[in-house]
Amino acid sequence: MYKYKRYDIVLDATDNVATRYLLNDACVLARKPLVSGSALRFEGQLTVYNCDGGPCYRCLFPQPPPPETVTNCSEGGVIGVVPGIIGSMQALEAIKIASGIGSSYTQRLLLFDALDGTFRSVKLRPRSPTCIVCGNEPSITQLIDYIQFCGAAASDKEKELTVLDQQFRINAKEYQAMLTCGEPHLLLDVRPEVELGICQLPHASLNIPLAIFNKDASKATKQVLQWIRDLEEKKQEFEQQQESSLSHSHDAAKALGNNHSPTVVCVCRRGNDSQLVVRRLQEELKIQISCGELSKGQQDIKLVDIKGGLHAWARHVDREFPIY
């Protein structure tokens, strides 16, 4: 933990809020300048904290952002050139500090927008005398628990949500069985539209992103119901065929429960958003049933999601499947 004391300048190139507060406090306590760089999507930011009367990270951001507002690179993506540019500039500032020239980014923030091709440098507040770590009467005099402080893990990995009961989830192999025997179902892909261009499961799907459910769940649900109406017709044809040949679909029927109501299978990249959508659909259907808007068949719609999403599909079913 006290490794950093052996160094004169610290460069923050980390990927999460908790570690950023940790490095800030450590640098303030050890009186080291902190050259901080960050990047997301097409944007980068650079500044130097705790140097020549400039602010520290806490002077600017006394409170950590609510965890749900933080987009990390593994979720939001980042174009590799941007951290490359920001990292090079961090190295440059470190050299300027080490050689006594001094940094240009004390009390200044560089905003790099790769999409617009603009660099903008803005003036920041000076060190705050009331800052709880670098102020005149600091209350933080040693390192604290930063994961607890930020309410978020010190990594940029996604948390695995458990929103749904097991009965509302199938695994990738069970879904594969459904596909093999041609069990009619609605595949609802809830990823943002642009991600469907990267890869899709080998079955026709309806794409309604989670964001649309968040915006207007009722409208999105109606779209799903319309699909189900079309599906019911197909399903009737399928069952007629099944009666004429011996059932091959035993496994799938078992996996899904042997019922005759339509099935909606939700999928996303990792199996988090898909659970949220199933939950949203469950709630919406309840409302619509209570308003008497659904036919009897529609009331028994079976909603499931694929556990672990496309990542699980790539792991357990199709090792060639592209993941991102």
Partner: protein, 98 residues
Amino acid sequence: MLPITVEFSGGAELLCGNVKKHEVELPKLDGKWQIRNLLVWIKDNLIQERPELFLLGDTVRPGILVLINDADWELMGELDYDLQERDRIVFISTLHGG
């Protein structure tokens, strides 16, 4: 009418239809236009989804930095700053990725 520019970056633009730059004309007001009432106006007129990710109480949520004409708003009086014609107000969501 008070013409100003409002910009969002660092992901804050996702709250207003992914549009970064907004040239707006603030309607006439009995009192003065300050950042305080500008925030409410933005919430009502520019933010399209999840306003709680922009405002917390009467100020911006933690993690958003406000710039008034390229300077940290704390240097300019924060919520009490009196808006001038053609001011440029920028809301930056800080980035944490690396």
